[in-house]
């Protein structure tokens, strides 16, 4: 398996990190980081990268056309566009409050999509 070159995002330093893998595809070495957070970031990033997803969802029967939402926790990076499809098909009835669950357990990720603003 090839090496992976990453730029660490744990802090503004942006250390260039190289991850090498053994024959089984497991992480062998992590170099270039200057702190433990960098190691942790690189390990997650090559094994199970996740991202917060923020977007909007359509509001029914309100003044606002859309209300902003986020994933309550990070979701797998590779599922962002698929999740967008689900969110774009969904809608929520006004009034909406911050924290309202708009979509439960999106695509079986165990993560809810929740409203991040009010909408009336």
């Amino acid at each position: 398996m090839e090496n992976r070159e990453l730029v660490c995002v744990a802090c503004p330093l942006g250390c260039p990190i190289t991850v090498t893998f053994d024959a089984d595809g497991n992480v062998a070495t992590i170099t270039g980081n200057t702190c433990k957070r960098g190691d942790a970031y690189a390990r997650t990033e090559v094994t199970n990268p996740t991202r917060m997803l923020t977007t909007t969802v359509k509001v029914e029967g309100g003044k606002s056309y859309v209300v902003p939402v986020k994933s309550a926790n990070p979701i797998p990076k590779g599922m962002m566009m698929e999740c967008m499809k689900v969110i774009n098909e969904a809608s929520v009835k006004a009034p909406v409050n911050i924290g309202d669950v708009v979509i439960e357990n999106i695509l079986g990720t165990g993560v809810d999509i929740i409203a991040t603003n009010y909408a009336d």
Partner: protein, 476 residues
């Protein structure tokens, strides 16, 4: 419906002709290919009312410029369009150029230009404190002034429409046929019948004339680029500062605008594509280089925008105004390059006289030659503002914060006769989006108000008609 007169082109010339003809008991249509008035040369020029010393003695340009400039203050007063008689100077940078200045003076006197004088270095410095140390003297023309050309056009057309002229936008003439009753204009807004056609189509007047078999109009499209600088440097020039003219025109000028900005330009470049209103890196550099010669402290650090316009330069170097040889009731008003804006009020009168040779013109009873003064919140004092908002709360919401423009003024601009239909139209009528942030904040608000007042979705609103969409479909 058959009109007595169809005016093609709603620039400053067509607009003022429409206003002049609206005094009489005839049916007049004003046809415009764009989504608004003043969309061609009128919206992108130097905005100067010239003294009238440039044009050669005996030309139409000379006669109509001097007459038009004399008429301008009253026309502007009646239409409630700001006009400022700030005067102009043609600056000489050498004794040789002083000779040229003296020539212009002689020419001006022969043309009948009032309030003209030659001033020396000291006097020039006294009246124009930021002028270059290299300047040795100047021609001072005190009757010259500044006016906003599109505001004048908007006001003139509003006045004309109030008096019964029909304004038809998005109406591009594709072909003209003649029959016993007159002309049939095949346009993008359908067929329009008219007994007389007035060709005020600006850069396209040659093409329109060809539609009736007249290929005598030869125009060279000439592009001019400009910079607009912030109001904080609007006082760098008091007068309109010209350099000595050359064969391509009057050179780069530095001038205040009636709105208090500073305008520098134009370049002059003959081009092929008459719709090419792009600015170029070379052009913009050229402007600054040459403007620095007149006023060394000008800097584009204060630039808020740049733009370009195309003037229709007639090969014979004079306005082409008169009946067409090839078609009896087709009246050309072509080749109106600078000093076209200055001449426009006089051109309108002149055209009315020519038309009157063939068409009887009787004054209407209920004609008004004034346009109601638009609300200008930014010019009001506290008491006036309080009173205004009490009457209509829409004036209590500021939409454009750079220029202090209220929602009420924007609604007025949309509802006015021949009112705004797009974002640039609102901008030209109210100045919303014309300030430092160039619509960064208020742009989407203006789109929202336009959509609401016109009863269409926001995505239907354009910047200036056509395909100039601002936003597309819903995200969800």
């Amino acid at each position: 419906m058959t009109y007595d007169v169809a005016i093609v082109g709603a620039g400053v010339v067509g607009g003022l002709i429409a206003r002049e003809l609206s005094r009489f008991d005839i049916k007049v249509a004003l046809l415009e290919k764009c989504n608004d008035v003043a969309m061609g040369t009128t919206k992108a020029n130097s905005a100067i009312v010239h003294g009238g010393f440039d044009a050669q003695n005996g030309t139409l340009k000379a006669k109509l410029n001097v007459q038009g400039t004399l008429m301008m203050p009253e026309v502007c007063e009646k239409l409630h369009v700001p006009f400022k008689k700030n005067g102009s100077v043609v600056v000489a940078f050498s004794e040789k150029e002083m000779e040229h200045v003296n020539e212009l003076y002689e020419r001006g006197i022969k043309n009948g230009v009032p309030e003209l004088s030659v001033i020396d270095r000291d006097e020039l410095r006294r009246i124009e404190p930021n002028i270059s140390d290299e300047a040795v003297g100047a021609l001072l023309s005190e009757s010259a002034g500044i006016v906003c050309p599109y505001e004048l056009t908007i006001a003139a057309v509003e006045n004309a429409v109030t008096n019964g002229v029909e304004f038809i936008r998005n109406c591009k003439v594709n072909a003209i046929t003649e029959n016993a009753d007159g002309y049939v204009l095949d346009t993008t807004a359908g067929d329009i019948m008219a007994k007389y056609i007035i060709n005020a189509a600006g850069n396209f007047s040659d093409e329109l004339a060809k539609m009736v078999g007249d290929d005598s109009i030869e125009l060279i499209p000439r592009k001019g680029e400009y910079y607009v600088l912030d109001k904080s440097v609007g006082n760098l020039a008091v007068h309109t500062i010209f350099q000595c003219p050359n064969e391509m025109g009057k050179g780069i000028l530095v001038t205040p605008t009636v709105d208090g900005n500073l305008l520098i330009g134009p370049t002059a470049l003959n081009i092929e594509d008459k719709e090419d209103i792009t600015t170029t890196p070379e052009g913009l550099r050229d402007i600054v280089e040459k403007a620095l010669k007149s006023v060394p402290i000008v800097s584009t650090r204060n630039a808020i925008t740049s733009f370009a316009g195309v003037r229709a330069h007639p090969v014979n170097d004079d306005f082409i105004i008169g009946w067409c040889d090839k078609s009896a009731n087709f009246l050309n008003v072509a080749g109106v390059e600078s000093p076209g804006l200055s001449s426009a009020p006089a051109i309108a009168l002149f055209v009315r006289e020519i038309l009157n040779e063939k068409l009887e013109l009787n004054e209407k009873e209920n004609y008004t030659d004034t346009r109601e003064e638009p609300v200008r919140f930014r010019h009001m004092n506290d008491e006036e503002r309080a009173e205004l908002i009490k009457k209509n709360p829409a004036y209590g919401r500021i939409v454009c914060r750079c220029e202090t423009i209220t929602e009420g003024e924007i609604i007025d601009a949309i509802k006015a006769p021949a009112g705004a239909r797009d974002v640039d139209g609102v901008k030209r009528r109210t100045r919303a989006g014309m300030g430092r942030c160039q619509g960064g904040f208020c742009g989407s608000k203006v789109v929202e108000i336009l959509a609401r007042e016109l009863g269409v979705p926001m995505s239907d609103i354009t910047k200036f008609g056509g395909d100039s969409k601002i936003i597309y479909e819903r995200t969800k």
